[in-house]
């Protein structure tokens, strides 16, 4: 089992193998993504019971919560890829990190936008300097910083390592930022909203949310693999196997 995993890990480090294996996985993730997202959306938006306090406006959590979960976990994945790149010098890790960054930034943006759309009917304002909102906004800027750094640096492997270092520094900072923003919020913000104590979610509301989260993860896998495959073809355009592949198609 262990040896098999190790073999798998090393094979995935080779662009050619990754391209072939991911080609086989891609349709599965695509199908799972479409199925789960459509089931989750229809279930959540049409059949889940209405919230007794917020009415129908609560249904935006079926987009908001999965996007927020992905926004945070994608940054962790990016930093993990950075460690793999710096420690084992596996170039595929950087291909994945490059593929992940814009998806993470868009998920953070989606979480912020859906949150603010939900905030308008519920809190009566588009934006509140709430601890969670603020740390999400900072996360968005962390993503944009990584993307901008990659755009700016010119030799590709130098840019890759620089982005890896920045992502790791960011991951060490995220808990500190979160803690300090919490401290700032608790000291400054008068208790305007008593929405911090959520009523425990009933099963009929929670299950579609779970389906949506799984669907978002499948979307993440599908989008990342697709972007990574394009990146491989671009980077390996001089390689023999890519030329053969191009000639065949």
């Amino acid at each position: 089992m262990w040896n098999w995993l190790k073999q798998c890990y090393h094979r995935l480090g080779s662009p050619k193998w990754f391209y072939q294996i991911s080609g086989r996985w891609l349709p599965w993730f695509g199908v799972a993504c479409v199925l789960l997202l459509s089931i989750g959306l229809v279930w959540g938006l049409a059949f889940a019971p209405m919230d007794y306090q917020q009415g129908n406006s609560f249904r935006i959590i079926y987009l908001h919560v999965p996007a927020a979960i992905l926004a945070q976990s994608i940054y962790m994945m990016m930093a993990a890829m950075g460690v793999v790149l710096l420690v084992w010098k596996i170039k595929m890790a950087d291909v994945l990190a490059k593929a992940l960054a814009p998806i993470g930034a868009s998920m953070t943006f989606l979480a912020l936008v859906t949150g603010s759309i939900w905030g308008m009917p519920t809190w009566g304002t588009w934006w509140v300097w709430d601890a969670r909102l603020t740390s999400m906004l900072i996360l968005l800027f962390l993503y944009l910083g990584v993307i901008a750094l990659r755009e700016a640096l010119s030799p590709e492997d130098a840019a890759a390592k620089a982005c890896a270092i920045l992502a790791i520094v960011g991951v060490i900072n995220i808990p500190i930022i979160k803690y300090s923003v919490d401290l700032w919020y608790t000291l400054h913000q008068p208790a305007t909203f008593s929405l911090t104590e959520k009523p425990a979610m009933p099963m009929e509301m929670w299950l579609p949310l779970l389906v949506m989260v799984l669907g978002f993860y499948c979307f993440l896998a599908w989008a990342t693999l697709l972007r990574a495959r394009h990146e491989i073809l671009r980077r390996e355009q001089q390689a023999h196997w890519v030329r053969e592949l191009m000639l065949r198609e």
Binding site: L86, I138, F141, L142, L144, G145, A148, L149, A152, L153, S154, P155, D157, A158, A159, K161, A162, I165, L166, I168, V169, G170, I172, N173, I176, I177, Y179, S180, V181, L183, W184, L187
Partner: protein
């Protein structure tokens, strides 16, 4: 044979002690940075000017200025530190000194730390001395000044160490002002929050020690970890040249 003409062997049998390397690096940084006076004075002028903009732009009344004084001073100090860091490593990269660091066989992290320490000493200490006077102009109560200075003392250290990582990563670029800001400012937010909180506590008559302790903790963590990130970044930049 005199000391100066002893043949150089490629592998030294008497490795140079790290403390001597560190001392030499500090002396070099002192000379370099003292001789570039403009780079030392400009951030201070920037700090003063940004602070002066607020009474002009918001309101000159003490009821408006006093509550925001600590925030204004911290934002100005943060931006001044950030801008002064932009050219921290670039001249050394261009004249080849960084390459010599990497091939010298000495660990790069202490050398980088020496550079950041000297930059903090010459760049941030004057800023800390200037801060009470600007605070006075913003009607910051005198009782909050010790807390402000202590918070700036610890906070600018963290700002210099964290910002140096960004400066090292962007050293290879011709100009990096906006990129450096975009990369580093999100990482500066904890220092800003804790720094202003410290002053607010002092104004309200509470003890500023809890947030000062947190700032101190951040300073220690930054002092421990940042040199390694800086040295890794410098190696990446030197290899990328």
């Amino acid at each position: 044979m005199s000391e100066a003409f002893r043949p150089l062997s490629p592998v030294s049998h008497h490795p140079v002690r790290l403390s001597r390397v560190l001392w030499a690096a500090l002396k070099r940084e002192w000379c370099l940075q003292v001789r570039r006076r403009g780079d030392l004075i400009n951030p201070l002028l920037f700090f003063a000017l940004v602070t002066i903009l607020f009474p002009l732009g918001v309101s000159p009344v003490s009821e408006v200025l006093a509550p925001v004084a600590s925030g204004v001073l911290w934002v100005a100090a943060l931006l001044a530190t950030l801008l002064s860091l932009d050219a921290l490593f670039r001249p050394d990269l261009l004249d080849g000194s960084l390459e010599q660091w990497v091939v010298s066989g000495q660990p790069v992290a202490p050398l980088a730390l020496a550079k950041v320490m000297m930059h903090w000493l010459l760049g941030s200490l004057p800023l800390i001395v200037l801060a009470p006077f600007l605070g006075m102009m913003l009607f910051l109560p005198w009782s909050a000044v010790p807390a402000l200075m202590a918070a700036l003392f610890l906070g600018t250290g963290v700002l210099a160490l964290v910002g140096a990582i960004g400066a090292a990563l962007t050293a290879g670029l011709g100009k990096s002002g906006v990129l450096l800001t975009l990369m580093v400012l999100p990482l500066y937010i904890p220092v800003l929050i804790l720094g202003t909180q410290t002053v607010q506590y002092a104004i309200a008559g509470h003890s500023p020690l809890p947030t000062l302790a947190l700032l101190m903790a951040m300073w220690v963590v930054a002092l421990m970890l940042a040199p390694w990130a800086i040295s890794a970044s410098l190696k990446v930049v030197v290899q990328g040249q």
